[in-house]
Symmetry: C2
Amino acid sequence: MELSAILEDSCVRDWQTVDPAAVEPVRFAVIGLGWFTKGRALPAMERSDLCTPAVLVSGAAEKADRIAAETDGATHGITYDEFHDGVGTDAYDAVYIVTPNALHLDYVETAAAFGKDILCEKPMERDSDRAAELHATAADAGVDLMIAYRMHTEPAVRRARELIAAGYIGEPMSVTGNMSQRLLDRIDPNPDQWRLDEWLAGGGALFDIGIYPLNTARFLLDADPVAVTGNTASTHDAFDDVDETVSFSVEFPGDVYAQCYASHNARQSSGITVTGTEGQVRIEPAFFQDQTRELHVSRGDGRASVTLNKVDQMHEEVDYFADRVRGDEPIYPDGDHGLVDMHAMEAIYEAAETDRWITLD
Amino acid sequence: MELSAILEDSCVRDWQTVDPAAVEPVRFAVIGLGWFTKGRALPAMERSDLCTPAVLVSGAAEKADRIAAETDGATHGITYDEFHDGVGTDAYDAVYIVTPNALHLDYVETAAAFGKDILCEKPMERDSDRAAELHATAADAGVDLMIAYRMHTEPAVRRARELIAAGYIGEPMSVTGNMSQRLLDRIDPNPDQWRLDEWLAGGGALFDIGIYPLNTARFLLDADPVAVTGNTASTHDAFDDVDETVSFSVEFPGDVYAQCYASHNARQSSGITVTGTEGQVRIEPAFFQDQTRELHVSRGDGRASVTLNKVDQMHEEVDYFADRVRGDEPIYPDGDHGLVDMHAMEAIYEAAETDRWITLD
């Protein structure tokens, strides 16, 4: 593996298998029209050759209609109830579920009943039992299920993964990863949102952003956790029910340890570093959208920092999903993959309560 | 705290209290003439206005004589036995102990009996019982004792500590620190050295290099550990008796967690990052000598990387010790300070064996 290959073609869609001109775009029903959907998902789908935001689903008919009218390619604006009732099923091929975590299962049940493929936001659900039921529901209906880990199609992450797989850093030994932002600053003046509600979210900083270093460590190492420990903390009243901050460690096979940190109360920061016997790969900034990704590599006496062209991570992600729906290759972040994170995160909470390391089955 | 102050005077010896021209230099007996002493300590003392390497102590008379003849300011080369017998006591004021960890106590006992002040390499001893005895021996004799944490006088670390104390990053939330190098590459073809001997060293990667992020986290936060957990691993036969790699987490007061990694089998790398509610301070590279230190700071929308002038860390350290011996200010990294690390490191080993978090008293 030569670094020059990374420099030359750093943003190549190495995962692409279908020719966009040869297939029909995947028409999405997009469920949940919050700031993330409006600001990220819909613009990416509008821009895509492989998918369109055909049906927009919200709690209020007026809101769904209004956003549908403003969105290129949208043909229907419907309510959650109408979605469950089967309104507009002919107008979409797949669903993208962007609701609070605890509602994912309900929409998966409806989508699966209508034979629609499913792109579901991470974390899968509010707990692993519901996540397992979600997974089984999709599997029983024979529809595709992808968990929306956008780091899997982030070019900087894919290039880092290739370097590691090719032995560039020798044997991986250690991972450190972090993601933090001031959530209360972002969502002010409306602190009463679902991410702070334990029933709707299932967890706090760990479920919302700690999952980034956790899952990206798994993806970079191509390995799953063996055991975990961790601690949680909260300082603001708004985080009475869920963790504001989490610090956790993950044991991977072969005595490789990942140490991760996530906080809704620390300065915006994100990065992930894999250190091996021979070298090191670091992505920083790593996880927030709208940032120019840098890949920092070192081996022997050499060090290099590679600045990658900025890509629209949502565009990459929805196109990957459409590519897998229209083509024959399997989805990598499938239900089994997402369940591993659910079990690991629940074990981290258990560890935080018991001051132990928890072994995963 | 303005960043400009750091840029203007980044390497100032803010700790200095005595005028080198107004005091007699501290004449050292340097005990243990390995590569570190020859390559680092003696050149620093030769260069110093505040100390001289007066008496050189080794196992072999010939070696002590030869190195003394090559060293500016050295007046005696003596053996370990001669040191214990009191040879040359009029020729030195203080001792610098650079022997294997398990021998520190013996030399402290002799130095204290002769009324000599003591600079003792870290870790203090091979275990906390012997370290406590070492501390008591120096205290009972009324001699100064400093544990040789050279990061305390590293300008990049001191500037980072000032920024944190001044509130530049808001409330500290999280620390990550790491230090790694390929020890077997460095010491080949002589793997049979004391750092690999559990009886002489007391511990492996944790005692030798993990102590850097551990102690520097304490110094930067101005806080001591509340609880720890960790894991150790070894892959080479040479590390049958001591840990080749350690991964550990430290809880500090106020739910601040430090996540640290040290390995004698990973690519050379070192850094420490403190993330707070408002900003972040990172030193990288941090811990190896002969590197140009960079201080990376961020707050709000701003980011800056400050390259500091390279200082001779050993020169700073021995001059700090001499300043405290000749002046009236207390030594910061004293016996009590060193003991905290000994207890924390032993608790990390206990945690590694029991898969628990261990609370420190």
